[in-house]
């Protein structure tokens, strides 16, 4: 039973990491209706720029600030040069443009900052907490706990920002109805630039967490693929959905990885590891059949 809880908690904590990436998707989707496939690439770019700037001799805090500047500028440039020109195109075209953007970043970032995998030191060690190990005999990583803390802090900050600031209110208005927001004088394009800046910030946080954990390397772009099932499970438009979805996916994926392969091995023989790659997708897919709009998504009503 201890082992079960260990896996469960480990899964929940890694789910938080997924939620961190999913959050970036939700922000942009909510505010501009763009499904930003490049979020994973942005996580990669953010982590790379932190590491790259540090390699040039800057301390961590300066690197983070510079990386944030880079991400913001990049977000604004994306909005200005790509998305603004695609206004009124079908959402699928915008989606495909962000796939192009992802490739663009994946080519550009390593050219500027170098492509070899590097470690990112945040000063948090990835080792089990001795107290829990002694008392309950469970391995819970200190790093995962810190990551969970950072994610909660981020979500709380975003929630407050959306709820109580002027810009946040404008963002929610735009998310609700572009045209209505425009008609009451909300500058749509500034808002979109801000959203991309915020998404860049979220990508930066996610990139530092993931980078510190797994090293800054190309594989960071695949975090987007981890976040997608979280999104469909939680609903594209819901911040709490991203968190809850992340927790569900993280926990169930780790549990499945532990408990399903032995069963299949008994049935078919052979080695059935690596379920993690597809299990979240199938889970999310089955869930969609029951609730097509996700856990917290808005019910979609079609009009002819």
């Amino acid at each position: 039973m201890n082992f079960f809880f260990e896996v469960l908690i480990g899964g929940l904590l890694s789910g938080v990491m997924y939620a961190l990436v999913a959050l970036g998707f939700v922000l942009i989707y909510k505010a501009s209706g763009v499904f930003n496939f490049a979020q994973g690439a942005m996580v990669y770019l953010a982590a790379l720029s932190v590491v790259g700037v540090m390699e040039w001799g800057a301390p961590l805090w300066l690197a983070v600030i510079l990386a944030f500047t880079i991400m913001t500028l990049f977000g604004i440039a994306t909005e200005k040069f790509v998305l603004r020109k695609l206004v009124n195109q079908p959402p699928i075209a915008l989606f495909m443009a962000t796939i192009g953007l992802a490739f663009f970043i994946e080519g550009l970032a390593p050219m500027v900052f170098g492509s070899e995998p590097r470690a990112l030191e945040l000063g948090i060690v990835d080792e089990p907490i001795p107290w829990i190990l002694d008392n309950w005999n469970m391995v819970i990583s200190k790093f995962d706990l810190v990551a969970a803390g950072v994610a909660s802090l981020l979500v709380a900050t975003l929630a407050l920002f959306f709820q109580y600031t002027r810009i946040g209110r404008a963002l929610r208005a735009v998310a609700d109805d572009h045209q209505a927001a425009l008609s009451i004088g909300i500058p749509l394009q500034n808002i979109w630039a801000i959203v991309w800046g915020v998404a860049g910030f979220v990508a930066l946080v996610a990139g530092m967490m993931w980078g510190a954990r797994n090293g800054v390397q190309f594989a960071l772009t695949f975090t987007a693929l981890k976040a997608l099932p979280v999104l469909i499970l939680g609903g594209f438009t819901s911040v709490p959905g991203a968190i809850v979805g992340g927790l569900i996916i993280g926990a169930s994926e780790k549990l499945a990885e532990i408990y399903i392969p032995p069963v299949m091995q008994d049935l078919f023989g052979g080695n059935f590891g690596g379920i993690e790659g597809w299990f979240p997708y199938v889970l999310a897919l089955l869930f969609l059949l029951v609730r097509p709009e996700g856990l917290f998504g808005e019910r979609h009503i079609d009009r002819v």
């Binding site: 994946e106 050219m111 997608l228 099932p229 594209f236 597809w278």
Partner: protein, 358 residues
Amino acid sequence: MLYREAGQFKTSYAADQQLFPIRQDRIGLIVLLAIAFLGVPLLASEYWFSAILIPFLIFALAALGLNILTGYAGQLSLGSAAFMAVGAYAAYNFQLRVEGIPILVSFICAGLTAAGVGILFGLPSLRIKGFYLAVATLAAQFFIVWCLTKFPWLSNNSSSGVISTQKLMLFGHELNTPVEKYLLVLSIVVFMALGAKNMVRSTTGRAWMAVRDMDVAASVIGIRLMPTKLLAFAVSSFYCGVAGALYAFCYLGSVEPDGFSLEMSFKILFMIIIGGVGSIMGSFLGAAFILLLPIFLDIALPFFAGLFGLPFSSATVSHIQILVFGALIMFFLIVEPHGLARLWQIAKEKLRLWPFPH
């Protein structure tokens, strides 16, 4: 002057409804096919066949399959490579396990297997659409590749799922030179492309387009959504499956599941974006473009590097390739959302009036 349909009167419905109503188009097509079937085998070198022409035709077929699903029926799919994998492995298993099955029959069976799998993964499309569906097709991508790696029966117990295809026997004759393989692939692709061209102007194709443009409206005018969408998935997967079988048998000869990666799915998607979403011809143009671009960059970049005295490592070249791909996708979506096929159409419009535009 050359390309003008003036004076071509249609006196029967059959003449009016034919696939290429303009005489110049028909002549052009015949000339093109003659070049492809007769001229190319005489002129092209072995390298051209095995490195450019055969993969071009195979990817064009896969892009055609995706174009049917995405361009005509409006269901975005990110799992086309997985359906190619199904086709490749199904063809291999039919050859392996059915005594004396002709290669073409096993290709058809491979396509049908892929179609079955496609229907299975198309089922969610009845409930969900748009991005949710795109993500759902990713499930197909990961799940299928995983299955092919992990179930040893599917790859005849080879390690990590690598299969080496059997000999290509056609009517008792073994195809082993690139030219013969090229001709086989070409015949299949031409046949299936004409089939697709016909299909998209039939009732089925029109139903697909209605669903693409607005599925609620389509169902209001009496198009049954479920069979229409599932048929689109089935036909699309059939095309991808045959393309996958050809990919394994005529191009590589030995494939592994991981070769049919998400990257390949994206590549096929890029082909239809650049070539033209919702255009048969666009699939061919896009496939040619996407396959030739890396070759071009491989040659051009070191040349430019030499010109400006910049040291380009091979890693930089591959990064620039990715970057250019991404930039081109965005560029095409912004400047010409209908792709190369649309440019071709514009050229034809211009050609009709040339050389006296007024």
